[in-house]
Symmetry: C2
Subunit: 236 residues, 2 copies
Amino acid sequence: MKDSVGDRKAGLAAHLKRSVLTLALEPGADLDEAQLCEAFDVSRTPLREVFRELAGEGYLSLRLNRGARVSDLSHTTLRDFFLAAPMIYGAVMRLAALNATAQQIEALKLAQFDFRDALRTGSGAHRALANNRFHQITGEMAGNIYLLPSFNRLLIDHARIAMTFYQPQTQQMAQNLTEACQQHDAIIAAIEARDEGAAAQLAEDHWNLSRNQIELFVMPAALDMPMGELSRKTPA
Amino acid sequence: MKDSVGDRKAGLAAHLKRSVLTLALEPGADLDEAQLCEAFDVSRTPLREVFRELAGEGYLSLRLNRGARVSDLSHTTLRDFFLAAPMIYGAVMRLAALNATAQQIEALKLAQFDFRDALRTGSGAHRALANNRFHQITGEMAGNIYLLPSFNRLLIDHARIAMTFYQPQTQQMAQNLTEACQQHDAIIAAIEARDEGAAAQLAEDHWNLSRNQIELFVMPAALDMPMGELSRKTPA
DNA sequence: GGTCGTTATTTTGTATACAATATGTATTCT
DNA sequence: AGAATACATATTGTATACAAAATAACGACC
Protein backbone atom coordinates (compact mmCIF):
# COMPACT_ATOMS: atom_id res chain seq x y z
CA MET A 1 0.00 0.00 0.00
CA LYS A 2 2.53 2.57 1.10
CA ASP A 3 4.92 3.44 -1.66
CA SER A 4 8.59 2.81 -1.15
CA VAL A 5 11.22 5.50 -1.36
CA GLY A 6 12.09 4.22 -4.81
CA ASP A 7 8.56 4.89 -5.95
CA ARG A 8 8.61 8.40 -4.56
CA LYS A 9 11.88 8.97 -6.33
CA ALA A 10 10.34 7.87 -9.62
CA GLY A 11 7.36 10.07 -8.89
CA LEU A 12 9.62 13.00 -8.30
CA ALA A 13 11.45 12.41 -11.58
CA ALA A 14 8.16 12.11 -13.45
CA HIS A 15 6.83 15.25 -11.82
CA LEU A 16 9.92 17.22 -12.73
CA LYS A 17 9.82 16.01 -16.32
CA ARG A 18 6.17 16.91 -16.65
CA SER A 19 6.75 20.30 -15.10
CA VAL A 20 9.60 21.06 -17.46
CA LEU A 21 7.74 19.89 -20.56
CA THR A 22 4.62 21.89 -19.73
CA LEU A 23 6.52 24.98 -18.60
CA ALA A 24 5.04 24.67 -15.13
CA LEU A 25 8.73 25.09 -14.38
CA GLU A 26 9.99 27.77 -16.72
CA PRO A 27 13.33 27.59 -18.52
CA GLY A 28 16.00 28.93 -16.20
CA ALA A 29 13.98 28.46 -13.03
CA ASP A 30 16.08 27.13 -10.20
CA LEU A 31 14.99 24.26 -8.06
CA ASP A 32 14.97 24.24 -4.31
CA GLU A 33 16.41 21.05 -2.88
CA ALA A 34 14.97 21.45 0.59
CA GLN A 35 11.51 22.17 -0.70
CA LEU A 36 11.46 19.22 -3.10
CA CYS A 37 12.82 16.88 -0.44
CA GLU A 38 9.97 17.94 1.81
CA ALA A 39 7.35 17.67 -0.91
CA PHE A 40 8.33 14.20 -2.09
CA ASP A 41 9.57 12.86 1.22
CA VAL A 42 13.00 11.80 0.11
CA SER A 43 16.34 12.83 1.49
CA ARG A 44 18.77 14.96 -0.42
CA THR A 45 20.90 12.07 -1.67
CA PRO A 46 18.29 10.44 -3.91
CA LEU A 47 16.96 13.85 -4.87
CA ARG A 48 20.32 14.92 -6.15
CA GLU A 49 20.66 11.66 -8.03
CA VAL A 50 17.43 12.45 -9.81
CA PHE A 51 18.79 15.90 -10.61
CA ARG A 52 21.87 14.42 -12.20
CA GLU A 53 19.85 11.94 -14.15
CA LEU A 54 17.52 14.58 -15.53
CA ALA A 55 20.48 16.80 -16.28
CA GLY A 56 21.91 13.98 -18.34
CA GLU A 57 18.67 13.74 -20.28
CA GLY A 58 18.58 17.47 -20.93
CA TYR A 59 15.76 18.53 -18.65
CA LEU A 60 17.93 20.31 -16.10
CA SER A 61 21.37 21.81 -15.94
CA LEU A 62 23.61 21.70 -12.91
CA ARG A 63 26.11 24.36 -12.00
CA LEU A 64 28.84 23.68 -9.50
CA ASN A 65 28.07 25.05 -6.06
CA ARG A 66 24.97 26.73 -7.37
CA GLY A 67 22.16 24.23 -7.59
CA ALA A 68 20.03 22.89 -10.38
CA ARG A 69 17.91 24.83 -12.80
CA VAL A 70 15.64 24.06 -15.69
CA SER A 71 17.49 23.97 -19.00
CA ASP A 72 17.46 27.24 -20.89
CA LEU A 73 15.53 27.80 -24.07
CA SER A 74 17.28 30.74 -25.65
CA HIS A 75 17.11 32.01 -29.21
CA THR A 76 20.40 30.22 -29.80
CA THR A 77 18.94 26.89 -28.82
CA LEU A 78 15.90 27.64 -30.95
CA ARG A 79 18.12 28.07 -33.97
CA ASP A 80 19.91 24.81 -33.19
CA PHE A 81 16.55 23.19 -32.84
CA PHE A 82 15.35 24.19 -36.30
CA LEU A 83 18.60 23.00 -37.80
CA ALA A 84 18.69 19.58 -36.21
CA ALA A 85 15.06 18.58 -35.90
CA PRO A 86 14.15 17.76 -39.52
CA MET A 87 17.08 15.44 -39.97
CA ILE A 88 16.66 13.54 -36.73
CA TYR A 89 12.87 13.32 -36.94
CA GLY A 90 13.08 11.97 -40.47
CA ALA A 91 15.64 9.36 -39.56
CA VAL A 92 13.69 8.24 -36.53
CA MET A 93 10.42 7.89 -38.45
CA ARG A 94 12.13 5.90 -41.15
CA LEU A 95 13.64 3.51 -38.64
CA ALA A 96 10.39 3.34 -36.72
CA ALA A 97 8.61 2.11 -39.83
CA LEU A 98 11.27 -0.53 -40.30
CA ASN A 99 11.49 -1.79 -36.75
CA ALA A 100 8.24 -1.22 -34.89
CA THR A 101 6.84 -4.19 -33.02
CA ALA A 102 3.12 -4.97 -32.87
CA GLN A 103 3.13 -4.07 -29.19
CA GLN A 104 4.70 -0.69 -29.86
CA ILE A 105 2.15 0.03 -32.56
CA GLU A 106 -0.59 -0.65 -30.03
CA ALA A 107 1.06 1.76 -27.61
CA LEU A 108 1.26 4.36 -30.36
CA LYS A 109 -2.43 4.02 -31.12
CA LEU A 110 -3.20 4.45 -27.46
CA ALA A 111 -1.07 7.57 -27.31
CA GLN A 112 -2.84 8.95 -30.35
CA PHE A 113 -6.16 8.24 -28.67
CA ASP A 114 -5.02 10.31 -25.72
CA PHE A 115 -3.79 13.05 -28.05
CA ARG A 116 -7.25 13.25 -29.65
CA ASP A 117 -8.67 13.56 -26.19
CA ALA A 118 -6.27 16.37 -25.41
CA LEU A 119 -7.39 18.25 -28.51
CA ARG A 120 -11.00 18.04 -27.32
CA THR A 121 -10.39 19.10 -23.73
CA GLY A 122 -8.20 21.90 -25.01
CA SER A 123 -5.63 21.97 -22.24
CA GLY A 124 -2.31 23.03 -23.66
CA ALA A 125 -0.36 21.01 -21.16
CA HIS A 126 -2.32 17.84 -21.86
CA ARG A 127 -1.86 18.36 -25.58
CA ALA A 128 1.88 18.91 -25.25
CA LEU A 129 2.33 15.86 -23.03
CA ALA A 130 0.23 13.60 -25.25
CA ASN A 131 2.07 14.72 -28.35
CA ASN A 132 5.37 14.24 -26.55
CA ARG A 133 4.39 10.72 -25.59
CA PHE A 134 3.36 9.92 -29.16
CA HIS A 135 6.72 10.91 -30.55
CA GLN A 136 8.61 9.30 -27.72
CA ILE A 137 7.07 6.02 -28.77
CA THR A 138 8.23 6.51 -32.34
CA GLY A 139 11.68 6.99 -30.85
CA GLU A 140 11.40 3.70 -29.02
CA MET A 141 10.27 2.08 -32.25
CA ALA A 142 13.32 3.33 -34.10
CA GLY A 143 15.31 1.87 -31.23
CA ASN A 144 18.63 3.27 -32.32
CA ILE A 145 20.61 4.05 -29.19
CA TYR A 146 22.73 6.62 -31.00
CA LEU A 147 19.80 8.60 -32.32
CA LEU A 148 17.69 8.53 -29.20
CA PRO A 149 19.70 10.91 -27.02
CA SER A 150 19.41 13.71 -29.54
CA PHE A 151 15.86 12.81 -30.44
CA ASN A 152 14.69 12.89 -26.84
CA ARG A 153 16.34 16.25 -26.27
CA LEU A 154 14.56 17.57 -29.32
CA LEU A 155 11.28 16.27 -27.94
CA ILE A 156 11.81 18.10 -24.68
CA ASP A 157 12.24 21.42 -26.36
CA HIS A 158 9.63 20.72 -28.98
CA ALA A 159 7.11 20.36 -26.18
CA ARG A 160 8.30 23.54 -24.53
CA ILE A 161 8.29 25.51 -27.76
CA ALA A 162 4.82 24.21 -28.50
CA MET A 163 3.66 25.27 -25.06
CA THR A 164 5.02 28.72 -25.76
CA PHE A 165 3.63 29.19 -29.21
CA TYR A 166 0.65 26.91 -29.69
CA GLN A 167 -2.24 28.70 -28.16
CA PRO A 168 -4.72 28.13 -30.97
CA GLN A 169 -6.32 31.54 -31.01
CA THR A 170 -6.85 31.90 -34.73
CA GLN A 171 -8.94 29.53 -36.80
CA GLN A 172 -5.89 28.71 -38.89
CA MET A 173 -4.02 27.44 -35.86
CA ALA A 174 -6.87 25.32 -34.59
CA GLN A 175 -7.09 23.80 -38.05
CA ASN A 176 -3.37 23.07 -37.99
CA LEU A 177 -3.87 21.03 -34.85
CA THR A 178 -6.56 18.98 -36.54
CA GLU A 179 -4.21 18.40 -39.42
CA ALA A 180 -1.42 17.39 -37.07
CA CYS A 181 -3.79 14.86 -35.57
CA GLN A 182 -4.56 13.44 -39.00
CA GLN A 183 -0.87 13.23 -39.74
CA HIS A 184 -0.44 11.18 -36.61
CA ASP A 185 -2.98 8.74 -37.99
CA ALA A 186 -1.14 8.63 -41.27
CA ILE A 187 2.11 8.03 -39.42
CA ILE A 188 0.58 5.08 -37.61
CA ALA A 189 -0.65 3.70 -40.91
CA ALA A 190 2.74 4.10 -42.57
CA ILE A 191 4.50 2.41 -39.68
CA GLU A 192 2.00 -0.42 -39.63
CA ALA A 193 2.51 -0.88 -43.37
CA ARG A 194 6.31 -0.84 -42.88
CA ASP A 195 6.44 1.90 -45.50
CA GLU A 196 9.64 3.71 -44.59
CA GLY A 197 9.39 6.13 -47.49
CA ALA A 198 5.93 7.26 -46.49
CA ALA A 199 7.01 7.53 -42.88
CA ALA A 200 9.96 9.74 -43.78
CA GLN A 201 7.73 11.91 -45.95
CA LEU A 202 5.19 12.22 -43.16
CA ALA A 203 7.91 13.19 -40.75
CA GLU A 204 8.85 16.01 -43.08
CA ASP A 205 5.24 17.11 -43.53
CA HIS A 206 4.58 16.89 -39.83
CA TRP A 207 7.64 18.91 -39.11
CA ASN A 208 6.76 21.57 -41.66
CA LEU A 209 3.32 21.94 -40.17
CA SER A 210 4.80 22.30 -36.74
CA ARG A 211 7.30 24.79 -38.03
CA ASN A 212 4.63 26.83 -39.74
CA GLN A 213 2.58 26.91 -36.60
CA ILE A 214 5.54 28.31 -34.74
CA GLU A 215 6.30 30.81 -37.48
CA LEU A 216 2.76 32.14 -37.21
CA PHE A 217 3.88 33.51 -33.89
CA VAL A 218 7.51 34.32 -34.41
CA MET A 219 7.09 36.10 -37.74
CA PRO A 220 3.40 36.96 -37.81
CA ALA A 221 2.59 38.48 -41.20
CA ALA A 222 5.25 40.96 -42.15
CA LEU A 223 7.16 38.90 -44.67
CA ASP A 224 5.26 39.66 -47.88
CA MET A 225 4.62 43.28 -47.05
CA PRO A 226 5.83 46.02 -49.44
CA MET A 227 8.21 48.52 -47.92
CA GLY A 228 6.70 51.55 -46.25
CA GLU A 229 3.62 49.78 -44.94
CA LEU A 230 5.30 47.78 -42.22
CA SER A 231 4.20 49.81 -39.23
CA ARG A 232 0.52 49.44 -39.90
CA LYS A 233 0.23 45.70 -39.64
CA THR A 234 2.88 44.82 -37.10
CA PRO A 235 1.03 43.02 -34.32
CA ALA A 236 1.19 43.89 -30.63
CA MET B 1 49.52 21.97 -4.03
CA LYS B 2 47.23 19.30 -2.66
CA ASP B 3 44.27 18.76 -4.93
CA SER B 4 40.79 19.28 -3.61
CA VAL B 5 38.16 16.61 -3.56
CA GLY B 6 36.56 18.26 -6.57
CA ASP B 7 39.79 17.74 -8.52
CA ARG B 8 39.98 14.12 -7.53
CA LYS B 9 36.40 13.71 -8.62
CA ALA B 10 37.24 15.20 -12.01
CA GLY B 11 40.28 12.96 -12.18
CA LEU B 12 38.13 9.95 -11.47
CA ALA B 13 35.68 10.90 -14.20
CA ALA B 14 38.52 11.44 -16.68
CA HIS B 15 40.12 8.15 -15.71
CA LEU B 16 36.88 6.26 -16.19
CA LYS B 17 36.24 7.87 -19.56
CA ARG B 18 39.74 7.06 -20.74
CA SER B 19 39.45 3.52 -19.49
CA VAL B 20 36.17 2.99 -21.28
CA LEU B 21 37.38 4.54 -24.55
CA THR B 22 40.58 2.49 -24.61
CA LEU B 23 38.91 -0.73 -23.49
CA ALA B 24 41.06 -0.80 -20.37
CA LEU B 25 37.62 -1.35 -18.95
CA GLU B 26 35.86 -3.76 -21.25
CA PRO B 27 32.24 -3.40 -22.30
CA GLY B 28 30.08 -5.03 -19.66
CA ALA B 29 32.73 -4.91 -16.93
CA ASP B 30 31.30 -3.96 -13.59
CA LEU B 31 32.82 -1.32 -11.42
CA ASP B 32 33.62 -1.73 -7.76
CA GLU B 33 32.53 1.27 -5.72
CA ALA B 34 34.66 0.49 -2.69
CA GLN B 35 37.77 -0.04 -4.74
CA LEU B 36 37.36 3.17 -6.74
CA CYS B 37 36.62 5.18 -3.60
CA GLU B 38 39.84 3.90 -2.14
CA ALA B 39 41.85 4.50 -5.29
CA PHE B 40 40.69 8.06 -5.84
CA ASP B 41 40.20 9.00 -2.21
CA VAL B 42 36.62 10.15 -2.46
CA SER B 43 33.61 8.93 -0.56
CA ARG B 44 30.79 7.01 -2.14
CA THR B 45 28.51 9.99 -2.58
CA PRO B 46 30.61 11.90 -5.13
CA LEU B 47 31.68 8.64 -6.71
CA ARG B 48 28.10 7.70 -7.39
CA GLU B 49 27.42 11.14 -8.78
CA VAL B 50 30.20 10.59 -11.27
CA PHE B 51 28.67 7.23 -12.14
CA ARG B 52 25.33 8.85 -12.87
CA GLU B 53 26.94 11.55 -14.92
CA LEU B 54 28.90 9.11 -17.03
CA ALA B 55 25.82 6.96 -17.41
CA GLY B 56 24.02 9.98 -18.81
CA GLU B 57 26.80 10.48 -21.32
CA GLY B 58 26.71 6.86 -22.40
CA TYR B 59 29.93 5.56 -20.89
CA LEU B 60 28.31 3.48 -18.17
CA SER B 61 24.97 1.92 -17.48
CA LEU B 62 23.41 1.65 -14.04
CA ARG B 63 21.12 -1.13 -12.93
CA LEU B 64 18.99 -0.78 -9.84
CA ASN B 65 20.47 -2.50 -6.81
CA ARG B 66 23.18 -3.97 -8.92
CA GLY B 67 25.91 -1.47 -9.47
CA ALA B 68 27.43 0.21 -12.47
CA ARG B 69 28.96 -1.39 -15.48
CA VAL B 70 30.60 -0.27 -18.67
CA SER B 71 28.10 0.19 -21.50
CA ASP B 72 27.71 -2.83 -23.71
CA LEU B 73 28.93 -2.98 -27.26
CA SER B 74 26.87 -5.73 -28.80
CA HIS B 75 26.30 -6.55 -32.43
CA THR B 76 22.97 -4.76 -32.14
CA THR B 77 24.64 -1.55 -31.11
CA LEU B 78 27.18 -2.01 -33.89
CA ARG B 79 24.39 -2.10 -36.41
CA ASP B 80 22.83 1.01 -34.92
CA PHE B 81 26.21 2.63 -35.08
CA PHE B 82 26.65 2.06 -38.78
CA LEU B 83 23.18 3.39 -39.45
CA ALA B 84 23.45 6.59 -37.49
CA ALA B 85 27.09 7.59 -37.80
CA PRO B 86 27.26 8.86 -41.41
CA MET B 87 24.31 11.18 -40.96
CA ILE B 88 25.43 12.67 -37.68
CA TYR B 89 29.08 12.95 -38.63
CA GLY B 90 28.17 14.72 -41.85
CA ALA B 91 25.88 17.18 -40.14
CA VAL B 92 28.44 17.94 -37.46
CA MET B 93 31.23 18.56 -39.94
CA ARG B 94 29.05 20.83 -41.98
CA LEU B 95 28.11 22.89 -38.96
CA ALA B 96 31.70 22.87 -37.72
CA ALA B 97 32.82 24.51 -40.96
CA LEU B 98 30.15 27.15 -40.55
CA ASN B 99 30.68 27.97 -36.90
CA ALA B 100 34.23 27.21 -35.84
CA THR B 101 36.02 29.96 -33.94
CA ALA B 102 39.70 30.75 -34.44
CA GLN B 103 40.43 29.42 -30.99
CA GLN B 104 38.70 26.14 -31.72
CA ILE B 105 40.65 25.77 -34.94
CA GLU B 106 43.84 26.17 -32.97
CA ALA B 107 42.69 23.47 -30.58
CA LEU B 108 41.91 21.22 -33.52
CA LYS B 109 45.39 21.70 -34.97
CA LEU B 110 46.87 20.84 -31.61
CA ALA B 111 44.76 17.70 -31.41
CA GLN B 112 45.89 16.73 -34.88
CA PHE B 113 49.49 17.26 -33.83
CA ASP B 114 48.94 14.83 -31.00
CA PHE B 115 47.24 12.37 -33.35
CA ARG B 116 50.27 12.42 -35.62
CA ASP B 117 52.38 11.70 -32.58
CA ALA B 118 50.15 8.79 -31.67
CA LEU B 119 50.59 7.32 -35.15
CA ARG B 120 54.35 7.44 -34.69
CA THR B 121 54.49 5.92 -31.22
CA GLY B 122 52.03 3.27 -32.34
CA SER B 123 50.09 2.85 -29.13
CA GLY B 124 46.53 1.91 -29.97
CA ALA B 125 45.17 3.63 -26.90
CA HIS B 126 46.98 6.86 -27.62
CA ARG B 127 45.75 6.79 -31.20
CA ALA B 128 42.17 6.16 -30.17
CA LEU B 129 42.19 8.91 -27.56
CA ALA B 130 43.83 11.44 -29.87
CA ASN B 131 41.39 10.67 -32.65
CA ASN B 132 38.54 10.91 -30.18
CA ARG B 133 39.73 14.29 -29.02
CA PHE B 134 40.02 15.53 -32.60
CA HIS B 135 36.44 14.67 -33.40
CA GLN B 136 35.18 15.90 -30.06
CA ILE B 137 36.51 19.30 -30.99
CA THR B 138 34.65 19.22 -34.29
CA GLY B 139 31.57 18.53 -32.21
CA GLU B 140 32.27 21.58 -30.09
CA MET B 141 32.72 23.59 -33.25
CA ALA B 142 29.35 22.54 -34.58
CA GLY B 143 28.01 23.63 -31.23
CA ASN B 144 24.52 22.32 -31.78
CA ILE B 145 23.21 21.15 -28.44
CA TYR B 146 20.73 18.78 -30.06
CA LEU B 147 23.30 17.02 -32.19
CA LEU B 148 26.00 16.74 -29.57
CA PRO B 149 24.45 14.10 -27.31
CA SER B 150 24.18 11.62 -30.15
CA PHE B 151 27.49 12.66 -31.65
CA ASN B 152 29.36 12.15 -28.40
CA ARG B 153 27.81 8.74 -27.91
CA LEU B 154 28.93 7.80 -31.39
CA LEU B 155 32.43 8.96 -30.56
CA ILE B 156 32.55 6.76 -27.50
CA ASP B 157 31.75 3.65 -29.44
CA HIS B 158 33.79 4.69 -32.43
CA ALA B 159 36.83 4.75 -30.17
CA ARG B 160 35.96 1.38 -28.70
CA ILE B 161 35.30 -0.18 -32.08
CA ALA B 162 38.56 1.24 -33.34
CA MET B 163 40.38 -0.22 -30.36
CA THR B 164 38.86 -3.58 -31.18
CA PHE B 165 39.52 -3.60 -34.86
CA TYR B 166 42.36 -1.23 -35.70
CA GLN B 167 45.48 -3.17 -35.02
CA PRO B 168 47.33 -2.22 -38.18
CA GLN B 169 48.85 -5.58 -38.96
CA THR B 170 48.62 -5.50 -42.71
CA GLN B 171 50.25 -2.88 -44.88
CA GLN B 172 46.85 -1.83 -46.15
CA MET B 173 45.66 -0.95 -42.68
CA ALA B 174 48.74 1.03 -41.80
CA GLN B 175 48.26 2.95 -45.02
CA ASN B 176 44.66 3.62 -44.09
CA LEU B 177 45.82 5.28 -40.91
CA THR B 178 48.12 7.54 -42.86
CA GLU B 179 45.24 8.44 -45.12
CA ALA B 180 43.01 9.14 -42.14
CA CYS B 181 45.65 11.49 -40.87
CA GLN B 182 45.74 13.31 -44.18
CA GLN B 183 41.98 13.56 -44.12
CA HIS B 184 42.23 15.23 -40.75
CA ASP B 185 44.46 17.84 -42.31
CA ALA B 186 41.99 18.32 -45.13
CA ILE B 187 39.19 18.65 -42.59
CA ILE B 188 41.10 21.37 -40.79
CA ALA B 189 41.64 23.17 -44.07
CA ALA B 190 37.98 22.93 -45.04
CA ILE B 191 36.86 24.24 -41.68
CA GLU B 192 39.37 27.06 -41.79
CA ALA B 193 38.10 27.97 -45.27
CA ARG B 194 34.50 27.81 -44.02
CA ASP B 195 33.79 25.41 -46.88
CA GLU B 196 30.82 23.47 -45.57
CA GLY B 197 30.44 21.44 -48.75
CA ALA B 198 34.02 20.23 -48.59
CA ALA B 199 33.69 19.51 -44.90
CA ALA B 200 30.60 17.40 -45.44
CA GLN B 201 32.32 15.51 -48.27
CA LEU B 202 35.36 14.91 -46.11
CA ALA B 203 33.17 13.63 -43.32
CA GLU B 204 31.75 11.09 -45.74
CA ASP B 205 35.18 10.10 -47.02
CA HIS B 206 36.59 9.87 -43.56
CA TRP B 207 33.70 7.75 -42.46
CA ASN B 208 34.02 5.42 -45.45
CA LEU B 209 37.68 4.93 -44.74
CA SER B 210 36.92 4.15 -41.14
CA ARG B 211 34.18 1.81 -42.18
CA ASN B 212 36.41 0.00 -44.63
CA GLN B 213 39.06 -0.41 -42.00
CA ILE B 214 36.52 -2.04 -39.75
CA GLU B 215 35.19 -4.22 -42.53
CA LEU B 216 38.68 -5.55 -43.16
CA PHE B 217 38.24 -7.30 -39.84
CA VAL B 218 34.56 -8.05 -39.69
CA MET B 219 34.22 -9.38 -43.20
CA PRO B 220 37.77 -10.15 -44.16
CA ALA B 221 37.80 -11.23 -47.79
CA ALA B 222 34.89 -13.55 -48.37
CA LEU B 223 32.53 -11.19 -50.13
CA ASP B 224 33.64 -11.59 -53.74
CA MET B 225 34.38 -15.24 -53.41
CA PRO B 226 32.65 -17.78 -55.67
CA MET B 227 30.65 -20.41 -53.85
CA GLY B 228 32.48 -23.56 -52.84
CA GLU B 229 35.77 -21.88 -52.06
CA LEU B 230 34.78 -20.17 -48.87
CA SER B 231 36.47 -22.49 -46.44
CA ARG B 232 39.90 -22.08 -47.93
CA LYS B 233 40.32 -18.35 -47.36
CA THR B 234 38.38 -17.75 -44.17
CA PRO B 235 40.91 -16.33 -41.74
CA ALA B 236 41.56 -17.55 -38.22
C1' DG C 1 24.50 58.28 0.15
C1' DG C 2 27.33 54.84 -1.87
C1' DT C 3 31.06 51.42 -1.96
C1' DC C 4 33.84 48.21 0.02
C1' DG C 5 35.01 44.76 3.48
C1' DT C 6 33.54 41.85 7.13
C1' DT C 7 30.57 38.65 9.32
C1' DA C 8 26.14 35.89 9.62
C1' DT C 9 23.00 32.82 7.14
C1' DT C 10 21.74 29.87 3.72
C1' DT C 11 22.76 26.60 0.31
C1' DT C 12 25.57 23.15 -1.78
C1' DG C 13 28.97 19.33 -1.52
C1' DT C 14 31.01 15.34 1.04
C1' DA C 15 31.55 11.78 4.53
C1' DT C 16 29.63 8.37 7.18
C1' DA C 17 26.22 5.66 9.52
C1' DC C 18 22.33 2.94 8.73
C1' DA C 19 18.70 0.23 5.96
C1' DA C 20 17.49 -2.66 2.23
C1' DT C 21 18.66 -5.68 -1.28
C1' DA C 22 21.34 -9.10 -3.44
C1' DT C 23 24.80 -12.78 -3.23
C1' DG C 24 27.22 -16.54 -1.35
C1' DT C 25 27.51 -20.47 1.97
C1' DA C 26 26.24 -23.96 4.84
C1' DT C 27 22.98 -27.13 6.38
C1' DT C 28 19.01 -29.99 5.98
C1' DC C 29 16.04 -32.96 3.73
C1' DT C 30 14.90 -36.03 0.13
C1' DA D 1 24.61 -36.54 -4.14
C1' DG D 2 21.42 -32.85 -5.38
C1' DA D 3 17.88 -29.37 -4.34
C1' DA D 4 16.08 -26.24 -1.38
C1' DT D 5 15.96 -23.29 2.40
C1' DA D 6 17.82 -20.54 6.02
C1' DC D 7 21.47 -17.88 7.39
C1' DA D 8 25.70 -15.00 6.90
C1' DT D 9 28.20 -11.69 4.09
C1' DA D 10 28.75 -8.22 0.88
C1' DT D 11 26.97 -4.63 -1.91
C1' DT D 12 23.82 -1.04 -2.99
C1' DG D 13 20.56 2.68 -1.60
C1' DT D 14 19.15 6.32 1.77
C1' DA D 15 19.38 9.48 5.67
C1' DT D 16 21.86 12.55 8.25
C1' DA D 17 25.72 15.03 10.11
C1' DC D 18 29.38 17.84 8.89
C1' DA D 19 32.40 20.92 5.71
C1' DA D 20 32.81 24.25 2.15
C1' DA D 21 31.06 27.59 -0.66
C1' DA D 22 27.94 31.19 -1.95
C1' DT D 23 24.65 34.65 -0.77
C1' DA D 24 22.81 38.07 2.24
C1' DA D 25 23.15 41.37 5.93
C1' DC D 26 25.50 44.63 8.35
C1' DG D 27 28.55 48.24 9.36
C1' DA D 28 32.74 51.02 8.50
C1' DC D 29 34.76 54.14 5.66
C1' DC D 30 35.07 57.47 1.91
